[in-house]
């Protein structure tokens, strides 16, 4: 099945962020669908994003998985712009296969998007036993294409509960899709894991921590949250050397350090991190991390406050607080490194920060939709359940898509009435500010929750570059 070597680089491999922004816009997208029915399988949806198409803004197709209980979450391409890096050796691979892990089952699907991107097919399934046996990890999560092939982060280690050994990153061969084993040679004090990304020419990786599986698989554990037991560290690694260099403890009140978004411009040595909740005041926070003088640093540069609410409107979990925490569960950075989008899944708000000065993010726009207490309707008049969650920005920065589901058991805790999957689109202005498109709203049906979006030809959370924009 390994892909044929091409004679030219894939036209969707872009040398720089600027060239990625100038390339043709996306005409389709993929959305991970999570079955609400425990007896039905998850699916990958194909959605039409081509405004010239008669089916624009509708679901074109679904690929239903052959197994039940995978819990699709994040996924990515087996090859991307990183393949053009000077020493990569993968310049003649194709942006063709999606690597799609199930975080509950630990199963990994390799899905072929050619010849017809609107009708993807499963070409390989890596069974959970093989993942566990060859990596010592479980619950695969974030997927990035990079120098050594496909890097996949995991949320669990060994044992039934995945908490008997550290979680980490493993490598999948980007041609044969054979597992090559653990990535880390020296993991330092790292144990829990969540997201990771890198600066390839400057040769470092940054990773974050959610929690070990017992603290999330059956829902958030309030005592553990109040006790500061969720992840609160950033880790910095030697990317080619596979060694832990440094960790930064954000303080135990900063619970759940999730998305890592480095600047796309490889000359910039900084990036961002979203922290879900401060257990002392329910705030969500944005952190800026940077490298200076051979050391890494991190600082809280923006906060989103909780909103007081009538306890009668709140789920059991939040009643004692009489407030809704913003719950920053995803962040995404535009390719020009100018706008950082911050999903506040609890309060039902997507914030746009101008991060031209990365040390001082400025709120430039906001879109309100859904929310635990706010329940803001879509401008079309339709109800929106859940809140803005997985965000994906088009390469040109003009469109921002988002879905509404976080994670099955957490959806139930925070939105007991259910979170039927939806995807909406916003239009962003070049100078800042953005708004919902009243005509774009895709429903995936009451049986499915919707999670990560991937855009044709790569997007802001898949592409990393080795060349500075000239």
């Amino acid at each position: 099945m390994s892909s044929m070597v091409q004679m030219r680089p894939d036209p969707t491999f872009y040398p720089s962020a600027k060239l990625a922004m100038e390339a043709a816009r996306e005409t389709i997208g993929y959305v991970a669908l999570l079955s609400k029915d425990k007896n039905a399988a998850d699916a990958l949806a194909v959605v039409d994003l081509d405004p010239a198409s008669s089916r624009f803004g509708t679901m074109l197709n679904t690929l239903v998985l052959p197994h039940i209980g995978d819990e699709l979450h994040h996924y990515g391409w087996s090859a991307c712009s990183a393949s053009l890096c000077p020493t990569s050796g993968h310049a003649f691979s194709e942006r063709r296969y999606l690597v799609v892990p199930g975080i509950r089952s630990s199963r990994i699907y390799i899905i072929d998007t050619k010849p017809d991107p609107r009708a993807p097919k499963i070409v390989k399934v890596i069974e959970p036993d093989e993942v566990r046996r060859k990596t010592g990890y479980s619950r695969p999560h974030t997927v990035h294409c990079g120098p050594e092939g496909v890097y996949i982060s995991t949320l669990g280690g060994k044992g039934v509960n995945g908490d008997e050994s550290p979680a980490g990153v493993f490598i999948l061969d980007c041609d044969s899709f054979e597992i090559r084993g653990q990535w880390e040679i020296d993991r330092g004090d790292q144990f829990a894991h969540y997201d990771f990304w890198w600066n390839m020419p400057h040769d470092y990786m940054v990773s974050s921590e959610w929690a070990l599986p017992p603290l999330f698989e059956n829902g958030v554990v309030p005592e553990a949250l109040m006790g500061g037991k969720y992840g609160h560290k950033l880790h910095f690694w030697d990317l080619r050397g596979r060694r832990h260099i440094q960790s930064i403890d954000l303080g135990a009140n900063h619970q759940m350090a999730l998305e890592i978004r480095p600047a796309h411009e490889p000359t910039k040595d900084y990036g961002f991190l979203g922290v879900v909740i401060d257990n002392t005041n329910l705030e969500g926070s944005i952190w800026t991390w940077w490298r200076e003088g051979g050391k890494f640093h991190a600082k809280k540069t923006a906060i989103v406050p909780p909103q007081p609410a009538d306890p009668a409107l709140l789920p059991e979990l939040l009643k004692p607080f009489a407030a809704v925490p913003p719950l920053i569960t995803d962040i995404d950075l535009s390719l020009d490194d100018r706008f950082l989008y911050v999903a506040c899944w609890g309060t039902g708000e997507l914030r746009q920060y101008d991060v031209s000065d990365p040390m001082a993010p400025k709120l430039a726009g906001t879109v309100k939709l859904g929310g635990i207490a706010a329940n803001t309707e879509h401008p079309s008049g339709a109800a929106f359940h859940g809140g803005p969650q997985m965000v994906e920005i088009s390469r040109d920065g003009k469109r921002v898509y988002f879905t509404n589901s976080l994670y099955s058991t957490w959806d139930t805790q925070f939105y007991p009435r259910g979170v039927p999957g939806q995807m909406v689109m916003c239009h962003a202005d070049a100078a800042g500010g953005f708004r919902l498109d009243p005509n774009f709203r895709i429903e995936f049906g009451a049986g499915y929750g919707a999670h990560q979006v991937r855009l044709e030809g790569g997007d802001c959370s898949t592409e990393s570059f080795c060349f500075a924009s000239a």
Binding site: R8, P11, G89, R240, A468
Partner: protein, 222 residues
């Protein structure tokens, strides 16, 4: 005996070919040039790539030249050597076919830090490109020719053979440096990054075919 100029022209041609080949000749130099906006950084980078490639040649060709010089001491082993040289043709054809069937870089190359271009180019030249392997039959030929031409008493055979190995390696590395620098500067200063994807064709395939042709040449001329 082949034309004496041919091995040198081959080495120069190989250097130009790999100088044009983006990863071997100039890709890293473009990245450095864009990051620093400095022609000096571009040239330092192409020089590092070419020097690493030079080392990968000499590390194999120098010992080979010593062995040849030692064997040249008597006529009998010299005949064996000529037969071995032609047999090496099969080796080249095999390597070329392997490159066509398994075109990927050896995986360990991706573990080398981008801050170590000499190391990377050295490993790349020795393994993925196989440049010294391609040049080895030519080197054998050159040393044999020089041994016949030179008066045995005037040149210490081992020293002379190593000199030829050095010269052959330089004959590839210098054009590699010049071509790589020219392309890198042209991309950074004139054509822009878009040229990378616009003009980059898979040169590895042509390189593999060259191995097969060199092998056939070795066999037919042996």
């Amino acid at each position: 005996m082949m034309n004496q100029a041919l091995p040198w022209l081959m080495a120069i041609g190989m250097g130009v070919y790999q100088g044009v080949n983006p990863p071997v000749g100039w890709l890293r130099a473009v990245a450095r040039g864009l990051e620093t906006n400095s022609t000096r950084a571009i040239l330092l980078s192409t020089a590092a790539l070419a020097f690493g490639h030079f080392l990968s040649m000499i590390v194999l060709l120098a010992p080979v030249s010593v062995v040849i010089a030692v064997l040249l001491a008597d006529r009998l082993s010299m005949m064996t050597l000529m037969q071995a040289g032609s047999l090496a043709g099969f080796g080249l054809i095999g390597f070329g076919l392997y490159k066509i069937l398994r075109p990927r870089h050896p995986k360990f190359l991706a573990r080398i830090s981008p801050d170590r271009p000499v190391r990377w180019a050295f490993c790349m030249g020795l393994t993925h490109c196989g440049s010294p392997v391609m040049m080895a039959p030519m080197l054998i030929n050159l040393i044999l020719v020089s041994a016949w031409v030179a008066a045995p008493s005037t040149v210490a055979p081992i020293f002379g053979a190593v000199l030829i190995a050095l010269a052959v390696s330089a004959a590839m590395a210098v054009p590699l440096f010049l071509t790589g620098s020219a392309v890198a500067i042209a991309v950074v200063r004139r054509f822009g990054l878009r040229a990378i994807t616009r003009y980059w064709v898979n040169l590895d395939l042509g390189w593999a075919v060259m191995f097969i042709l060199m092998g056939i040449m070795g066999l037919t001329m042996g």
